[in-house]
Symmetry: C2
Subunit: 424 residues, 2 copies
């Protein structure tokens, strides 16, 4: 990790840059994949599995027998852990459920806003280097809490075993996912956006993925289907002062770095001593970790910054807008209250990112790459729409009629005015 | 309007089709405009105003003098109407403001979710055939209620006067918009997405527009900037039984049809008699309206359907997912409670769409083209992010540690497990 001391504000936009991900080659390939799935549906999916992954797919839908086989392979310890995590995730998302709003804005004019669950939800769970079954919990539990009637999940099979990770299938079944399909990559996103004979067209697609998945979501989002957010490589920023424990901070940075070579970790400290102590710990802990290749490549893209002023620390954290922000500082709530851009914030020395990644109850599907400036992490709102209603009495409409007619006529919309006048 | 009696469910997807809007020529032009603004900023904007609109632009920022001139031109009646509408819109959006959520999900594990306003909001207000100053209210009032610190508005000047409509400037000033820029079309969207010397880069872009604006929002949304929703031509569906008043229904259909030639209006009735009576009224009222060319072209694309079964009426309304849904039926709440896809619902004989378009308090920026399946209309949530926080005690983390370690190890993420183990 390169260390920057009192970096000038002019250099901040460069220091906030993420490893670039806009790849025109990927984009072009994804456009072709999407076009093929749109045109040929299941047939295109099978052909793409053959071409890209060298896997010959039969039935795409996971069968009861496959679910049973998966459940038998998952240890009781993991099952218990899933149940414990699910309890907390469910409780925290239930607490977020919005209530209907009802207001008489003027005499005889009643307005409502009511939450209504999205009908068909599509979840994408990556396969790849780690079977991220925790994401199954993070997406399907809030969907069920919101009341979404239909949950579809797509996930690739392993190239070596030709099967879906058993933990993913167990978690899907545990959380009440209706159908799981053995499809990965951009083709899975396209299938859920357009629908095929096997795979239903959904209203909104959720979940992380590699460059191909993200590009497909960006391409089809707002055109064919809604998406949760434009996800990118994971990232963490740790703010540390003299009350931070270097071994803890190092462990948090490394837990982010092991996600992949394109992950980014940022350390912001109040002194160079702390930065040095953390860097030393990072080296020590890296030596005993698996996935050290990923970790080392991620650390190359990572930065340690030292600012003596709390003002600078807060402003830099907001400028970066980290997906995960760990505040290991004495007055952590005072800092947290001044943060306006972050996905999720971890407070104090005993709130590692892993707690929120798995089990505390917060969601781990969060905006990366500075998108926290405009997007929330996945939460109960992600699975509902809020429909408004209004009921006016004859007198209620009369009370508003002058206002409506005046505005409609000033906008040159005669028929809008007439819809009020005709009701007199 | 063509009338369909007891249309077979197999034909519904065709009957729910909107006038197509995906135009590759528009897309290509927008891509070029966006690239030019990204590369040359203000200079590109001035060149585009010259080329597209034949207008020579000086300063893009609206001056104090221009605001004063506009305020002098707006009648007191319109000013009063704006103030009255604003009161209701503000009240209804204030009532929507979400509260922070706090929950101890397990002993020593506290999780929060807090709403935080988006920092920089960009509003687009079309010029075109009607100066839609009501949209200024619908976007800027909730932004201010949410607490967004910076509101920027782009709107084109009239080709004939070279000025922005005075009502738009008055409304912007009245609602506390910080800066108004005289830029329209795809170039306005690109300017707010990338930022130029004059126009600030924003976090999220809101507002309706023509095909160029919508295409630019779809293109840049999820890649460079967040957007409110993929807006398209406006639409209304009216459900009518024998308690509906044909003259009222006709007036509602026409108030939608006058929006533009690409608007769509749908009538769903319980009997052919009602459909005939409404169609007759539509003809009668059209004869006395301005904008009759728009109206007639919109009506060509519109449909009247007759279903004797309430089941069919509800299912068809949900299949269409109308932006505006007017329920002029006896038991309108019973029907409304079964609607799961609509932008905003208008109940009974005295709740015309115009009420919500201007003054009742609900928002009129709503999902069109079936997007109500996944999107809400603009509401207070549109202007905030919900950030999560967690604070674990040493004991709280210990209580979760087995769960976290078990899951992390099953996912092959050793460093995630280590971030917990190191804290023992």
């Amino acid at each position: 990790m390169q260390v920057y001391i009192e970096a000038d504000r002019k250099s901040w936009s460069e220091l906030c840059l993420r490893p670039s991900s806009d790849n025109p080659v990927v984009r072009e390939r994804v456009e072709k994949i999407v076009a093929r799935v749109k045109a040929d549906g299941d047939e295109a999916i099978r052909a793409l599995s053959r071409e890209i992954d060298g896997v010959e797919m039969g039935e795409l839908l996971v069968s009861e027998a496959e679910f049973a086989e998966a459940a038998a392979k998952v240890s009781q310890e993991v099952k218990d852990a899933i149940a414990a995590a699910a309890r907390n995730i469910r409780a925290f998302h239930e607490a977020q459920m919005p209530s209907p709003v009802c207001l008489e804005t003027a005499p005889g004019v009643r307005c409502w806003q009511k939450p209504v669950a999205i009908g068909k939800v599509g979840l994408y769970i990556p396969g790849g280097t780690a079977p991220l079954f925790s994401t199954v919990l993070m997406l399907s539990i809030p969907a069920k809490v919101a009341g979404c009637p239909e949950l579809v999940l797509c996930t690739p099979v392993s190239r070596t075993s030709g099967k879906v990770a058993p933990e993913v299938l167990y978690a899907a079944s545990f959380c009440g996912v209706d159908k799981v399909f053995k499809v990965g990559g951009a083709q899975a996103v396209a299938a859920m956006a357009y629908g095929t004979v096997s795979i239903p067209k959904v209203d909104k697609i959720f979940g992380p993925g590699n460059q191909y998945v993200t590009t497909a979501k960006q391409l089809l989002g707002n055109r064919e289907v809604a998406i949760d957010m434009p996800a990118g490589p994971s990232e963490v920023m740790v703010l540390a002062d003299e009350t931070a424990v270097p071994a803890y901070v190092a462990a948090d940075l490394l837990s982010q770095a092991e996600h992949g070579a394109d992950s980014q970790v940022m350390l912001v400290c109040t002194s160079k001593d702390i930065a040095d102590a953390v860097c030393e710990e990072v080296e020590k802990q890296t030596a005993v970790l698996g996935r050290a290749d990923f970790v080392e490549r991620a650390l190359e893209k990572s930065r340690a910054l030292v600012f003596s002023s709390v003002e600078d620390i807060v402003d830099f954290a907001n400028a970066y807008g980290s997906e995960h922000l760990i505040i290991s500082m004495k007055d952590y709530w005072q800092i947290a209250d001044r943060i306006v851009s972050a996905g999720s914030i971890f407070l104090g020395n005993f709130s590692p990112e892993s707690a929120g990644d798995y089990a505390s109850g917060t969601n781990h599907t969060l905006p990366t790459c500075g998108w926290s400036r405009a997007f929330s992490g996945v939460n109960i709102d992600s699975f509902i729409r809020k429909i408004t209603y209004q009921e006016l009495t004859r007198e209620g409409l009369q009370g508003l009629s002058k206002t409506i007619v005046e505005m409609a006529e000033a906008e040159g919309l005669q028929a809008h005015a007439n819809a009020v006048k005709v009701r007199k």
